[in-house]
């Protein structure tokens, strides 16, 4: 495929994806602000807080009612201007959109990061490691577990182990958090062997090694709950996928030629099956960065899911937006990379743009 065709294809896909992303962000802006209603709540809240402060401040005690009223109005007006609430919503929503597109996530309205920063970027980035540590690890473990167990079972389908996995596949409809609750009941409430909440012991151990061990200990239950939740269906899916692939004509032809099974497996089954597998991996990776609101809540895991949840509870628009924006950007970049890979390896796309 000529470079020109590829560039044309990538640019086109990139543009489409970028506009899709902008549209998604704009929808988030609209919904997160309830079409401007949030502002009224914020202003009412602000007015009350300012009244309270002025009334309680001994400095203003001498002021008369009217003067005090004027003072409050003045402070409220300043605050409104500081927060940019005096502009019409439509105008502000476009400013939000521009900032979001430029990844200028601004300041949170109410929330602060654990280190005290008000910057949305800090609030989100601070929690990202905890989420990546837990969910990306689980995702990678799950991915390879499902892939290789699936491949293994497709080789010996009909065996006892295969039958066990097939018949247990329906257990995977129970979500990870549900297994989390059950695991907490067993290993924390009943047996008292594993911690059920948080990321590290309180107080955290000083020694880095002990610290790491403590974190690992706290990861066991949430990780186990996601692994158990995913394993049977994941393995079943991969096994069936490979089984269907292994009945394709080109595999039969390879078998007829007498090629060794291992070679058939790698070159004739795994390789053509690679694109959907890579897609699954990439999208799973992105998904894992979003954390899991409910699992994080059940295990009190201080990750992105918890941030998203508190942001929603506090109605903190910039944080909600920042969360969506980062997520959308990551997704967009991944999809674009996948598109490029497909453009390079998929003959159908080559034909279209060649």
């Amino acid at each position: 495929m000529p470079i020109k065709g590829l560039v044309k294809y990538v640019v086109r896909r990139g543009l489409v994806l970028y506009f899709t992303m902008l549209a998604a962000i704009y929808i988030t802006i609209l919904v997160a602000n309830m079409g401007g209603k949030v502002d009224e709540i914020i202003i009412a809240d602000l007015r009350m807080r300012v009244w309270d402060e002025v009334n309680r401040n001994p400095v203003y005690r001498a002021l008369s009612g009217a003067e005090r009223e004027r003072l409050v109005n003045e402070i409220v007006q300043q605050e409104i201007e500081r927060l940019g609430l005096d502009k019409p919503f439509l105008y502000r929503s476009l400013i939000y959109l521009r900032d979001a597109a430029l990844l200028e996530l601004g300041r949170a309205q109410f929330m602060t990061s654990d280190t005290g920063s008000r910057l949305v970027r800090n609030i989100i980035l601070e929690r990202l490691p905890a989420t990546v540590l837990l969910f990306t690890t689980v995702m990678v473990i799950n991915f390879f577990l499902h892939l290789f167990l699936g491949l293994y079972l497709s080789r010996r389908y009909g065996s006892l182990l295969d039958k066990v996995f097939v018949s247990l596949a329906p257990t995977s409809v129970l979500p990870g958090w549900f297994y989390g609750i059950i695991l907490i009941l067993i290993f924390y409430t009943w047996l008292h062997v594993l911690p059920a909440s948080g990321i590290v012991d309180t107080p955290p151990p000083r020694d880095p090694l002990l610290y790491a061990l403590s974190v690992l200990k706290h990861m066991i239950l949430p990780m186990a709950s996601w692994i158990i939740s995913g394993i049977f269906l994941g393995v079943y899916g991969n096994r069936t996928f490979f089984l269907i692939f292994s009945t394709e004509d080109h595999v039969e032809a390879a078998k007829a030629k007498g090629l060794p099974p291992r070679l058939i497996e790698w070159r004739y089954i795994l390789r053509p099956a690679l694109p959907p597998i890579i897609t699954g991996f990439a999208l799973g990776l992105i998904g894992s960065w979003g954390g899991a609101i409910i699992t994080e809540r059940i295990f009190n895991w201080p990750g992105l899911g918890s941030v998203a949840y508190s942001a929603i509870m506090y109605n903190d628009t910039p944080v909600i937006l920042g969360f969506t924006v980062i997520y959308a950007y990551l997704l967009m970049v991944t999809v674009l990379i996948l598109d490029v890979i497909y453009g390079l390896i998929d003959p159908r796309i080559k034909v279209q743009f060649g």
């Binding site: 994806l17 899709t20 329906p170 129970l174 409430t189 809540r297 929603i312 109605n315 997520y327």
Partner: protein
């Protein structure tokens, strides 16, 4: 499958389903859940259920708090206390009320006695006395005395009634504790453990060592509670209800608001089924319709639908759903609508669209076009019937996902504020520390219901999948 080929119609499908183990399990569980739903709707009408679940304290005041179901006895191997109730206004064996007029005064004495046998292996959980009196002048004066099986008599409390409907929370009253302690320490001068409670002093075997350690054996046998009231006018009267709360209750136990859990467990079933099925059904069909239009018409319609699908992919589903449910405080049916709107452009569209694009080139569709069939006719009569079978297993298999979604939102405190659902029970349990206090039943019962529902639909989905995708059957 019959010898003549595939049987169509519901009967044929059911027959074929029953030839798979997963199918039998699925149909069996589903029948059970349907039976529970019908029972729930018939036994406790909708309004009634909401009233019971939202009932004020008065409704359930005679129930123990966070009591396990009665059948847990089988697992712990002990006799666990049931709730013991007496009411002097009712003719009840064990209670008696006598009125003695004190001569030469206007006063009278009301003596209410309650006799009961306590042979459980654990202490009760709470002890309340409810006093119902009418008085015109001075308020009645009440003395509660407990006679233990050993014959020992202890004075529990002396109390001046404050209002006509008064209650004494014996098990948490500081006056009761100091009163009992002063009587026992006079008898056994030891250092009293601070783990000693009102209830352990009343229903435990009090010895110097148990006072010191705070560990009491239950003193089993016949107890008598005497409530002696002095009334200051002949026209005054006083009645009492005595409730000694157990630690087990009913077939499902109770929650922190003393509500029997079976209400929520029963009513959660029809709600979960209706919610899951509607969400899955409507989403699947709308998705299918959109995909068919996209694949059939192509061109602009197709590109618009494809772009919207990609748009939906970027929007994070759960945070968005939470956002909407926090802002608008919606009930379960609006939530359902929101979920449907948020998922109609979901993942299923791409694969169905690809299928339709293949179908377009099929000779029978071409024939339909040749005889001048309209797009509407082709879509409804030739395309949808063709792509429906592979969609159905997915539809059934997706039901648990929606049931769990509702539970998950309840767990975040965003569920329906009125209806009793399984998710809400789990949420209540989690909020009240059931996971840490070892109140297993509170979490496990709704979890079990969720699991049954999930397995019913998942098994059914798997079996259906094998029927409509014969290729899977060989594997």
């Amino acid at each position: 499958m019959s010898a003549t080929g595939v049987e169509y119609g519901l009967k044929g499908v059911v027959k074929e389903l029953l030839s798979y183990r997963a199918g039998i399990v699925g149909i069996g569980l589903l029948a059970l859940l349907l039976a529970i739903s019908i029972y729930a709707i018939v036994a406790i009408p909708y309004e009634e259920a909401i009233k019971m679940w939202r009932g004020q304290e008065a409704m359930w005041i005679d129930n123990p708090r966070t009591a396990a179901p009665e059948w847990v006895e089988m697992f712990v191997g002990k006799r666990l206390p049931r709730t013991i109730k007496f009411d002097s206004r009712l003719q009840q064996p064990g209670t008696s009320k006598s009125v003695i007029e004190i001569p030469a005064t206007d006063m009278k004495k009301v003596v209410i006695t309650c006799r009961f046998r306590y042979d459980y292996d654990e202490l009760p959980s709470e002890f309340n006395v409810f006093l119902f009196s009418n008085f015109t002048g001075s308020a009645p004066f009440v003395k509660v005395v407990l006679r233990k099986p050993s014959g020992e008599e202890v004075e529990v409390i002396r109390y001046v009634v404050r209002v006509p409907d008064d209650r004494i929370y014996i098990s948490i009253s500081g006056a009761v504790l100091s009163n009992l302690l002063s009587q026992y320490t006079a008898k056994y001068p030891v250092n009293v453990s601070d783990r000693v409670t009102q209830l352990s002093l009343m229903f435990g075997r009090v010895t110097p060592s148990s006072l010191e350690s705070g560990d009491f054996d239950v003193e089993k046998g016949d107890y008598t509670i005497t409530i002696e009231a002095t009334l200051f006018s002949r026209s005054d009267d006083l009645d009492a209800r005595v409730v000694i709360y157990g630690t087990v209750h009913g077939i499902a136990g109770t929650d922190h608001l003393r509500r029997p859990l079976e209400i929520a467990l029963l009513w959660g079933t029809p709600i979960a089924l209706a919610f899951g099925l509607t969400a899955s059904l409507v989403t699947t069909f709308l998705q299918m319709l959109i995909a068919v239009m996209s694949g059939w018409y192509g061109g602009l319609v197709d590109s618009v639908i494809q772009r919207v699908t990609e748009l939906y992919m970027v929007i994070p589903f759960l945070p968005f759903l939470i956002l909407i449910s926090t802002f608008y405080k919606i009930d379960i049916w609006v939530l359902l609508a929101v979920i449907i709107v948020l998922s109609i452009f979901g993942g299923g569209i791409k694969s169905t669209r690809a299928l339709v694009m293949q179908l377009r080139e099929y000779p029978y569709i071409e024939a339909a076009r040749a005889y001048g069939a309209s797009s509407f006719r082709i879509i409804t009569l030739y395309i949808i019937p063709k792509i429906l079978p592979p969609v159905v297993p997915g539809l059934i298999g997706a039901v648990p996902g929606y049931v769990f979604l509702e539970a998950a939102l309840s767990l975040l405190g965003l569920g329906d504020p009125f209806l009793p659902t399984w998710g809400k029970v789990i949420s209540d349990a989690a909020d009240n520390g059931a996971l840490y206090r070892g109140l297993y039943y509170w979490v496990l019962e709704p979890s079990l219901m969720l699991m049954l529902t999930a397995f019913a639909f998942a098994s059914l989905g798997f079996a259906l999948d094998k029927i409509v995708n014969p290729r899977l059957r060989e594997l």
